[in-house]
C-alpha cells in the first residue's frame, strides 16, 4: 500500500501530514521548529526519508535543518545532537547556515530605481538533486543560487547566475528579490532553469556555470520596456518530467507556456477570471493538465468574488474550468502562495494546496473534489508531497 507524506511549511513551524494511499485519514505531526518561519521543506527523490527544511527568522537569520528519517527527527547538518560541537583541533563545526555570496556582491535595482547592495536574507526554496541525496540546491533572497554537495553542511554559490550582466537590473517584488523556482532537467543533467521575482527566468546548459535569460514573449507593464530581457515578476514555473522542454509559468500577470525550454513564451491565460496568481502545477500522468489558483489582483491578493477556485486546463492552457467542489464559495479571502501547491504520483492523481488561512486542501481525483486535511494551521508558505512505496 502506498503512503503519501505532505510537507507543510508555515509562518510558525513545519507540519508533516501522512496518510495511506486512500488519502482519507491523515496523521498530523508538528509543529516542528515552532515559532519559526518555515519557507520550504522538500525530500530527496532518491532517498525520500532525506528531507531538507529552510527555517528562518527576522531575529536569528537562516537555519538549515535536515531529517534522515522522514521528518521524525531533525538536525542542523554537521552538528548531530550529542556529538562534540567542535573538531579535535577546536574548530567549530556546522556552517550549514552560512550563505555567503561569491566575491564582492555588487548591487541590484531597488524599489525606487536606485542601486542597492545584495544582502542575504533567507532561503526560499530547496531543490534536492534527482540523483544524489547529499546534493541540494537553495534559491535565496537576495536572488542567488547555492548548492550543497555534503548533505547541507556547507553551501557554495553558483555565482555565474548572480553575476550575469543583467544583475544590476534585477529588482525585488513585494515579497523581496527571491529565487523561488529551481527546475532540474531529468533528461539533461547540465540543464537547469530558475526563476526570480522580479528578474525573470534563466537557464543554464552547463551545470550552472553560465546562464541566459529566457524571457522572450513575456510582457510586464510595470517595467519601462514591457518586453525587456529582464525585470519580469515570474511567480512560479512548472515542468512535467516526461517533457522537460515544455514549461508552464504563472507570472505576476498572465499564465504562459513555452515548448522550447524557454526560448519563446506565449500566453495561455484564456478564460481565467484573473490572470494573477502564484502557484502552478502539472498533473502527474497528464502533462497537458495544469492547475492554477487565480487571485484577484496584485494589490488585493485574494480570490475573485470571495470564492476559492482552482482552475484546471486539460489542453495545456487557454481553456480552463473552475474546480469548486469542497472549496469555500463565499466569504473566502485567503491567498495561496507560490510554493504552496503540489501533486502526488498515485494512479488517481492527488492535488494539494495550502492557504494563508492555514487550510491544506487535498483532492484525490485530479481536482474534481476537494477536502481539507487540516483547517487551522498557521499561514501556509509551502506544500510538498512525497509518494512513498
Amino acid at each position: 500500500m502506498s503512503e503519501v507524506r505532505v510537507l507543510v511549511g508555515t509562518r510558525k513551524g513545519a507540519f508533516v501530514l501522512t496518510s495511506d494511499g486512500k488519502r482519507e485519514r491523515w496523521d498530523v505531526s508538528g509543529p516542528h521548529f515552532a515559532g519559526w518561519e518555515i519557507y520550504h521543506v522538500k525530500g530527496s527523490p532518491v532517498d525520500p526519508n532525506r528531507l531538507y527544511a529552510s527555517q528562518t527568522s527576522a531575529w536569528f537569520g537562516q537555519i538549515i535543518q535536515r531529517s534522515d528519517d522522514g521528518g521524525k527527527t531533525w538536525m542542523q547538518p554537521g552538528t548531530p545532537a550529542g556529538e562534540p560541537t567542535t573538531t579535535p583541533d577546536g574548530t567549530p563545526k556546522a556552517e550549514s547556515n552560512k550563505f555567503v555570496y561569491d566575491g564582492v556582491p555588487g548591487t541590484h535595482q531597488w524599489y525606487d530605481g536606485t542601486q542597492h547592495p545584495w544582502e542575504f536574507k533567507r532561503v526560499w526554496h530547496l531543490e534536492p538533486s534527482l540523483t544524489d541525496p547529499d546534493t541540494v540546491y537553495a534559491g535565496v533572497e537576495d536572488a542567488a543560487l547555492f548548492r550543497s554537495t555534503d548533505g547541507g553542511k556547507s553551501w557554495h554559490e553558483l555565482s555565474g547566475l548572480r553575476q550575469h550582466d543583467t544583475g544590476p537590473k534585477w529588482q525585488p517584488g513585494a515579497g523581496g528579490m527571491c529565487l523561488h523556482t529551481i527546475l532540474l532537467d531529468p533528461k539533461n543533467p547540465e540543464r537547469m532553469s530558475i526563476a526570480i521575482s522580479a528578474a525573470g527566468a534563466f537557464r543554464t546548459d552547463d551545470g550552472g556555470k553560465t546562464w541566459k535569460p529566457i524571457n522572450r514573449g513575456l510582457h510586464s507593464q510595470y517595467i519601462p520596456d514591457p518586453t525587456a530581457e529582464v525585470g519580469h515578476c515570474v511567480h512560479r514555473i512548472a515542468m512535467h518530467p516526461s517533457r522537460p522542454n515544455v514549461l508552464f509559468m504563472q507570472k505576476h500577470w498572465d499564465v504562459m507556456r513555452t515548448d522550447d525550454a524557454g526560448e519563446s513564451w506565449r500566453e495561455v491565460s484564456g478564460n481565467l477570471p484573473s490572470d494573477f496568481g502564484f502557484p502552478i502545477d502539472i498533473h502527474a500522468h497528464e502533462p497537458d493538465t495544469i492547475y492554477v489558483v487565480p487571485i484577484k489582483s496584485d494589490s488585493e491578493h485574494f480570490p475573485p468574488d470571495g470564492k476559492l477556485r482552482v482552475y484546471r486546463s486539460r489542453s495545456g492552457g487557454n481553456e480552463w474550468e473552475a474546480l469548486t467542489k469542497g472549496l469555500p464559495q463565499r466569504d473566502c479571502y485567503v491567498n495561496v502562495l507560490r510554493d504552496a501547491m503540489s501533486i502526488d504520483l498515485l494512479d488517481s492523481c492527488g492535488v494539494y494546496f495550502g492557504t494563508t488561512g492555514g487550510q491544506v486542501y487535498a483532492s484525490t481525483d485530479s481536482g474534481d473534489t476537494w477536502n481539507p486535511i487540516v483547517r487551522d494551521l498557521p499561514a501556509v508558505l509551502s506544500v510538498e508531497v512525497q509518494t512513498l512505496p
Binding site: W59, Q76, P92, N97
Partner: protein, 98 residues
C-alpha cells in the same frame, strides 16, 4: 564562569535549558563572550551576529546589569559583575511583534 542568557529560540537550537556557562581566558568583552559561545555551540554561529562581518543582527540586543550594552564596542570590557559571574550577559530578541 561567565553566564549567558539566551532567548527561547536560541536555547532550542543549542539544545540547552536555562543559562549557558562559559569559561573565558583574558578580557571579558562582547566579542570574547560570543566567540566562546559560538565555539561551544557552533549551531549558533550566524544567529546572533553576521557570519562574515560579525556585526550584531539588527533585531537582537545585549543587556547586562540593567543596562543596554547593544551599542557598546565589541572589545569594550563588560561590567565586572558579568566577568565574575554575578550577573548574566543577556541576549534578547527585540520586541517586534511576530
Amino acid at each position: 564562569m561567565i553566564r549567558v542568557e539566551l532567548p527561547h529560540h536560541l536555547r532550542t537550537l543549542a539544545r540547552v535549558n536555562g543559562e549557558v556557562e562559559l569559561r573565558i581566558e583574558g578580557a571579558v568583552t562582547q566579542r570574547s563572550v560570543l566567540d566562546a559561545l559560538e565555539a561551544n555551540y557552533p549551531m549558533l554561529r550566524g544567529t546572533i551576529r553576521d557570519h562574515v562581518t560579525q556585526v550584531r543582527r539588527p533585531f537582537l540586543r545585549f543587556f547586562a546589569c540593567g543596562e543596554d550594552l547593544s551599542h557598546e564596542l565589541p572589545d569594550a570590557a563588560l561590567p565586572n559583575a558579568v566577568a565574575t559571574g554575578a550577573e548574566p550577559f543577556v541576549v534578547m530578541g527585540a520586541i517586534a511583534g511576530g
